[in-house]
């Protein structure tokens, strides 16, 4: 037996060691967090630096004459005429007026390539909105072609990329720049249009709407089903081999690769039930299957965290089990359930693999207006653009990623806010 004095010495000696290990441990934690933050920072700076260019796009200023003869339209109220009219031709005319000394077929073609080949339809819309312009001349800013856009932006940044342009085209752009007839504008197309083969006309509106419709359906289906399953399993089901079996399977489903859910959706919903392909209905169904396990698991955890004393209090008052669940357990578990649901939704929003299997990877220009309209979703749109050869799609891809990330940030912030807001202490 040692004397108390010896003990004190020993304690003091060990104290230094313990403090040292604690300091070390803290530093491990800090370093781990720094690594995580650095990764996020690199990701965000990379995406933002690549993508911020996409929010501005190049426009050219031209003197356009809305010539009835050239377009082939005399009655703006006739939709057939509008559809058959040659709208691009007045742009070609305007370009020729701008650069009168261009001659030869090749040069003329290259001159015409300065403007987007969808810019004529913008003029059509302009004319329909203001029919008095027919036959008149107007100075308008028209959308430039994506190669021009890419070159002009890179030229402004001091690293011109002219690989896809001829020397003459570069010269024309320089002239336009000197005359102040080329400029960058806010790219509203990005947010108002659907997908396009032409990068300068492509927008994410279609994908955003597709994601929204798909997610709404996923939420409507998976939240009630998941919560009901979780409540039954936690509160009503007898604890026996069957419930253990179900629990193991639910946990398994949560870890199944999402592409398998896509295959399942393809086999069951499309091949067996003949739900149409590429539509938010089938996407929502597949994503419901995928998010259900997440929602069930988080909801069960939320229900478990409700203190047993509250249940006892309710039962002791003569509440039936249903009343106990409805009046006490559910309100207390709701913040956790909502958090789980939002995390599940965020997961679903970022999911692309299962949707590839059910045809939501199709090239869709129209903006979906309902659950049965063909649609694609944001992550698939990112995949499609990343896969496209046009250089201008690089910044578009990053811009779409930024939009997706901001949706995710909003959702996850809402989850934290909801939890803080609804959390009740007992």
């Amino acid at each position: 037996m040692s004397k108390p004095l010896d003990n004190l010495g020993k304690i003091r000696k060990s104290l230094n060691r313990r403090n040292r290990s604690e300091q070390l441990f803290r530093w491990y934690g800090r370093i781990a967090i720094m690594i995580g933050l650095a990764a996020v920072l690199v990701l965000f700076t990379d995406i933002v630096s690549k993508g911020n260019g996409a929010f501005r796009i190049t426009y050219l200023q031209l003197e356009v004459n809305y010539d009835q003869e050239l377009i082939g339209v005399d009655n703006l109220a006739d939709p057939r005429q509008l559809a058959q009219g040659d709208w691009q031709v007045i742009l070609k005319q305007a370009l020729r007026n701008q650069f009168p000394d261009v001659s030869g077929r090749g040069d003329k073609r290259r001159l015409n390539a300065l403007v987007s080949n969808g810019a004529g339809f913008d003029l059509k819309d302009r004319l329909v909105a203001n029919p008095l312009l027919l036959g008149e001349t107007e100075t308008v800013w028209v959308l430039a072609d994506d190669d021009i856009d890419t070159y002009y932006k890179s030229w402004l940044d001091g690293e011109p990329y002219a690989a896809r342009l001829t020397d003459k085209q570069v010269e024309w752009i320089t002239q336009l720049h000197d005359q102040g007839k080329i400029r960058l504008q806010f790219n509203s197309n990005l947010f108002t249009r659907g997908d396009s083969r032409e990068p300068e006309q492509a927008g994410i509106r279609g994908a955003v709407m597709g994601s929204l419709l798909t997610l709404i359906l996923t939420l409507i289906l998976s939240f009630p089903i998941g919560v009901a399953a979780a409540i039954y399993l936690e509160e009503f089901a007898p604890k026996n081999g069957w419930t253990d079996f179900i629990e193991v399977n639910i946990n398994n489903l949560a870890a199944v690769p999402s592409i398998i859910f896509g295959l399942l959706g393809l086999a069951i919903f499309i091949n067996f039930f003949h739900v149409p392909r590429s539509v938010p209905i089938v996407g929502g169904l597949v994503l419901t299957l995928m998010t259900l396990p997440t929602i069930i698991i988080t909801s069960r955890a939320a229900i478990k965290s409700v203190p047993p004393s509250i249940r006892e209090a309710a039962l002791g008052m003569g509440a039936s089990k249903y009343q106990m669940v409805l009046h006490h357990v559910l309100p207390l578990a709701l913040p956790g359930m909502l958090t789980g649901a939002i995390i599940g939704m965020a997961q679903a929003l970022g999911e692309s693999a299962p949707l590839l299997m059910i045809g939501m990877v199709a090239f869709i220009v129209d903006i979906p207006g309902g659950f049965s309209d063909p649609a694609t979703v944001l992550p698939v749109q990112i995949f499609l653009w990343a896969d496209s050869p046009e250089r201008a799609f690089i910044e578009k891809t990053s811009a779409a990623i930024m939009v997706l990330l901001s949706f995710l940030i909003v959702m996850n912030t809402t989850a934290v806010w909801l939890r803080k807001r609804l959390e009740r202490r007992w």
């Binding site: 203190p307 006892e312 209090a313 039962l315 008052m317 007992w426």
Partner: protein, 298 residues
């Protein structure tokens, strides 16, 4: 091996009284085993019982927690159940309003009746039973709702109040009877969880009496409270006994002595002795009771 050890004091209990007492003292820090055929001594039964329990056995899976307990609880009496930790007094109390139903492994045998009606009959609805037999728990457990809603919860789910005015009246009366009204009348719509521990427990009592139960079960209602709050609750129990039958489990012998009319001593799942409280604390009939109240174990 355990059984061999335990057999010795069991045999000793049947031997001469002096020897038995020595045995008890020797084993004071360990298990004081009681014989399987232990019969409860004292006045277990009353002439006009509110509740009657006969040969009650409670099991958790294969483990028997309560052995052959028979006892009556009289109308408007306060009966205290005391005993060392793990003696089964809480289990027994919880079988009186079938709170043990929530424990899946728990099984109750024997007969538990209130006013002659079998509480374990298949056709009996536990919801009705728990409205008639209220319960106050060890840890104050108000709902995380307003004080008003806490008290109004029972009347609401049982449909006791027809109008808002009726409900207000029930809430006020219950809070008054729980001696809480004056402290909370200005803040009825603040959260019940914001009250102090003692106030929370009185809120739980108010909540229990709001549905006018016939019997109130209290499971160590003061064990989480300070002495002042405890004194208030004890005072309250005395007042409540005018209208209610109360069964209280307590760890504190002083509390049993202060509030109860009769005291039941439980030991290792067996009911050892039931007698008027005064007698239990002055001249206990059984040596185990004596050993416990004189503080030799427990």
């Amino acid at each position: 091996m355990n059984e061999a050890n335990l057999a010795t004091p069991a045999a000793a209990a049947n031997a001469e009284k002096v020897e038995a007492k020595i045995e008890v003292k020797l084993d004071a820090k360990q298990n004081l085993e009681v014989a399987d055929d232990q019969v409860t001594v004292g006045q277990c039964f009353t002439d006009a019982p509110k509740m009657t329990m006969r040969n009650v056995n409670v099991f958790y899976d294969d483990k028997q927690a309560i052995h052959n307990v028979s006892i009556d609880i009289a109308q408007n009496e306060v009966i205290a159940m005391i005993g060392p930790s793990g003696c089964g007094k809480s289990t027994f109390l919880r079988s009186l309003n079938r709170m043990n139903d929530t424990v899946e492994s728990c099984r109750v045998e024997g007969e538990i009746c209130m006013d002659g009606e079998d509480l374990y009959a298949p056709k009996l609805d536990v919801v009705e039973l728990r409205a008639r037999v209220g319960m106050v728990f060890q840890k104050p457990n108000p709902f995380p709702k307003s004080i008003y809603d806490n008290v109004a919860y029972g009347p609401k789910i049982h449909g006791l109040a027809d109008t808002r005015v009726d409900l207000d009246e029930i809430v006020e009366n219950s809070l008054r009877r729980a001696s809480l009204w004056d402290e909370v009348k200005e803040r009825l719509h603040q959260s019940g969880t914001g009250l102090s521990g003692g106030q929370q427990q009185r809120l739980c009592i108010a909540r229990a009496i709001a549905v006018s139960p016939e019997v109130i079960l209290m499971d160590e209602p003061c064990s989480a409270l300070d002495p002042i709050a405890t004194a208030k609750i004890e005072e309250l129990i005395e007042e409540l006994s005018e209208n209610f039958t109360i069964a209280i489990v307590t760890h504190s012998m002083q509390q049993a002595a202060r509030v109860s009319h009769r005291t039941a001593y439980f030991h290792l799942g067996r009911l050892i002795e039931v007698n008027p409280t005064e007698q239990v604390f002055t001249m206990p009939e059984h040596e185990l009771t004596e050993a416990y109240i004189t503080g030799r174990f427990g």
